[in-house]
């Protein structure tokens, strides 16, 4: 349906004006075969206006033509014939040409096309009465008792106009093709695969196909026996487009009863299809109407919920009936479709902006976490306390002071190496922890013991997560009776999850005020979210031996 508008609008600047003035009488039919029936003066008074079923027989058709005036006399005149079957065409008794080959005693019918164009000799186009006669057979599609009809026009525009229109339509189809290609690739190569993008790509692809299929008739000879295949394809494409557009809107505008509405819509399409079976144009029109109602409901609901873009789509949908009121049906359809596609694109842009903002905020989060990681070693509490201890070691026992410096430099080295990573091998994390412990050993003069169990060295996890737990353990615990503190990292993996269990074996300090993990836990949670989305859990709490934290990553 939608392509019709193009036809009209394009015709507007190709050649809409009639260059031949003529009138035709009603077509008369007669079953039988006689070459004299083509004669201009033959008396066809007994012939019928109703052709009736002709079955496997040859039959004739005659049309009286009153050629009044040729407004444009340059070049030959032509005639366009619409008919089903195969036929020989006579003008005033002169054989002008064939469309296919009608049945004869020697040969079977070779099917012709539904439309055909013939050139008329200049000697036969004097103003006045003329007779077009057809010797036909219609062996297939016998139920379709289609009239034979003709129209006079100059020969050149008869051939050229459809080509101009086809060229224009193909230009337009190319735009949709590129759009669909772009959005297909966009879908395939984007990290966050948005369903709506795929739907939009398919909508564009189907519209491209629709335009091509509709206009293929101007450059591909389709025998009348295959005539309905094209129409069926047009019907299916219209159905697909009319289904995808409301689906797209319901996704983008977050319609709550999406499923119910789509089922209802498809039900309506089915009803229309069954009731109007065979009425291709009318079916398409009803499909468009149902599609419009569905989109309208979705947009109205979105506007009520103050969804961004809802009001714009609603305005677009409400403009469509106005367009239909003031514009010709076909042109209105074109404008309507333009409005719909614009609305779709608008929603897509809104969505793209949301995604862009999300992406930016993830980047921001990542760089914030990077910064936090770097800050770990330069924050005053760590750095200045470490330096104070270091000065003391250097002053009091320079040899150990040097070992201290070495340990500190090793910790800095690892920190520097992982600063920009979002995930590192657990073996590197353990190295970092061990270096941190040797630094802290110099500061706190407590015997720290590191233990691990079940570690797969190459297993990746976000940097400095265990390190943060270790820091908390050091800050909030006092050594056991034997002057030692034990830290134990266990790794347990099952089919559905990976688990890091970090235990501090020490006495928990009674804190001045209840202290939550604070910034340390925030860092851990943010890092886990960055790497695993919501597929993780983190718990931390006192245990009989001290403190235990568990990070579970769902796989």
């Amino acid at each position: 349906m939608l392509y019709r508008l193009l036809f009209i609008s394009l015709l507007a600047f190709s050649s809409c004006k009639r260059d031949v003035l003529f009138e035709t009488g009603l077509t008369k039919y007669h079953v039988g075969d006689n070459v004299h029936w083509s004669a201009k003066n033959y008396n066809d008074i007994n012939w019928k206006y109703n052709r009736g079923r002709t079955g496997n027989k040859v039959f004739w058709a005659r049309i009286n033509v009153d050629l009044q005036q040729r407004l444009e006399t340059i070049g030959p005149m032509g005639v366009q014939v619409h008919a089903f079957g195969a036929y020989d065409f006579y003008w005033d008794g002169v054989l002008i040409g064939h469309n296919g080959k009608p049945l004869s005693t020697e040969a079977k019918e070779i099917p012709g096309t539904e439309a055909a164009v013939f050139m008329l000799p200049d000697s036969l186009i004097t103003p006045g009465k003329h007779v077009a006669a057809f010797r036909l057979s219609q062996m297939s599609n016998g139920h379709d008792l289609r009239d034979v009809q003709l129209k006079l026009q100059n020969y050149k525009p008869l051939l050229r106009d459809p080509l101009i229109i086809t060229a224009m339509v193909h230009l337009m189809a190319g735009v949709f093709f590129i759009a669909s290609l772009y959005y297909f690739l966009f879908y395939c190569y984007s990290k966050q695969r948005e369903y709506s993008v795929l739907i939009f790509a398919f909508t564009c692809l189907f519209f491209f196909c629709l335009l091509i299929v509709e206009y293929v008739k101007y450059y591909v000879d389709i025998p009348y026996t295959q005539f309905f295949i094209r129409l069926k394809a047009v019907g299916i494409l219209t159905f697909l487009i009319a289904s995808l557009i409301p689906y797209y809107f319901s996704i983008q505008l977050g319609f709550k009863w999406k499923r119910q509405m789509l089922v209802l819509m498809l039900g309506a399409y089915a009803v229309v299809f069954v009731i109007q079976y065979g009425h291709y144009d009318y079916t398409s029109m009803l499909f468009s109407l149902i599609m419009w109602i569905t989109c309208l409901v979705t947009a109205a609901d979105a506007t009520r919920r103050k969804v961004k873009g809802g009001a714009v789509v609603l305005t677009g949908m409400l403009a469509i009936p106005l367009v239909h009121k003031f514009a010709l049906y076909d042109i209105a359809l074109f404008i309507s479709y333009t409005i719909i596609v614009t609305c779709m694109l608008y929603l897509h842009v809104l969505r793209a902006r949301v995604l862009e903002e999300q992406y930016e905020s993830t980047l921001l989060l990542s760089s914030r976490l990077q910064l936090e990681l770097i800050k770990k070693n330069i924050q005053p509490h760590f750095l200045r306390n470490t330096l104070t201890s270091l000065i003391d070691w250097v002053e009091e026992s320079p040899k150990q002071g040097i070992q201290f410096i070495k340990a500190l430099s090793d910790e800095f080295y690892i920190m520097n190496a992982i600063a920009e990573e979002t995930q590192i091998p657990v073996s590197q994390e353990i190295d970092l922890c061990k270096k941190h412990l040797s630094v802290m050993q110099f500061r706190k003069e407590i015997d720290y013991v590191w233990q691990d169990e079940g570690i797969l060295p190459d297993e990746a996890l976000p940097p400095a997560v265990i390190h943060t737990l270790l820091e908390n353990g050091i800050t909030h615990s006092a050594p056991l009776e034997n002057g030692r503190m034990y830290f134990k990292l266990k790794f347990v993996t099952t089919a559905k999850q990976k688990k890091y269990i970090f235990e501090t074996h020490a006495r928990n300090r009674e804190t001045y005020r209840d202290q939550e993990g604070g910034n340390g836990f925030k860092y851990i949670r943010a890092r886990l979210t960055e790497s695993y989305g919501d597929q993780w859990t983190f718990t931390s709490g006192a245990a009989h031996h001290g403190w235990v934290s568990v990070i579970t990553i769902l796989t």
Binding site: P380, H381, L383, R384, N385, L387, T388, S389, L390, I391, D392, W393, F442, R443, K444, E445, I446, A478, R509, E510, T511, Y512, R513, G518
Partner: protein, 232 residues
């Protein structure tokens, strides 16, 4: 001198102990180290001390609560901290000194010297006096204080709104931390010079200072000259 050190880093605590012992070698010093704030607070509640060396994480909100609670007490507080950017705020609340980490002997000694120095070095001066009242700490803006008089081991702050509150520190201890516009004019009185109106000589060579609100504050015989100079 009775000194308490609150420091959870063993190595730094040792350093502080060593240097403190060195400084007070001539004065008998009792020295206690607590490795956590809660232990330190328990100790303060059970024992009297003269100086507290406190490692305080002033970045947490708790930090300032602890700070206020400490400076409201009779002893002097010296903060030894890594959070050097909070030094100014610490001085506002009336710490004797703020020793930034890492520190050396000279810097720590400098802090101890303030205890005995008569002239305060020009420093960032305190803005608030933290006062304990029925367990709560109230901050008194120093600019609202007219004068302070000694009341036994306490001091009585006399405010512009004609009310008065008791502070746990002695007049001597307060004198060491108050800003320059406060002057000791008598054994038992410190006044804010912004409140002073004129000097009055009474019969029998008794001197008094009249404040803007009319109150008369006695002036010590030996301090009269210095006060007269300051008032111009």
């Amino acid at each position: 001198m009775r000194i308490l050190i609150i420091e959870d880093e063993a190595r730094i605590a040792k350093r502080l102990v060593r240097m403190t012992n060195q400084y007070f070698e001539h004065a008998p010093a009792s020295l206690t180290v607590c490795d956590s704030l809660s232990k330190g607070i328990n100790f303060i509640q059970a024992n009297e001390i003269d100086i507290l060396l406190l490692d305080l994480n002033l970045n947490g909100e708790d930090g300032f609560d602890v700070l206020q609670s400490m400076v409201s007490r009779p002893f002097h507080t010296i903060i030894v901290s890594a959070y050097t950017d909070k030094a100014i705020t610490a001085f506002f609340y009336g710490v004797l000194d703020f020793v930034p980490k890492p520190f050396d002997e000279a810097r720590l000694f400098q802090a101890f010297k303030r205890l005995s120095a008569k002239e305060k070095p020009a420093e960032i001066s305190l803005k608030y006096l933290a006062v304990r009242r029925s367990g709560n700490i109230t901050l008194i803006d120093i600019s609202t204080v007219r004068y302070i008089n000694g009341a036994g081991i306490y001091s009585e702050l006399n405010l512009q709104n004609d009310k008065s509150v008791l502070h746990d520190k002695s007049l001597d201890a307060l004198e060491q931390i108050l800003p320059p516009q406060f002057m000791r004019i008598h054994r038992s009185y410190i006044v804010s010079l912004t409140e002073a109106k004129k000097l009055i000589i009474q019969p029998g060579s008794r001197y008094s200072l009249q404040l803007h609100n009319g109150e008369l504050i006695p002036v010590g015989r030996l301090r009269y000259k210095a006060l007269k100079e300051k008032m111009g």
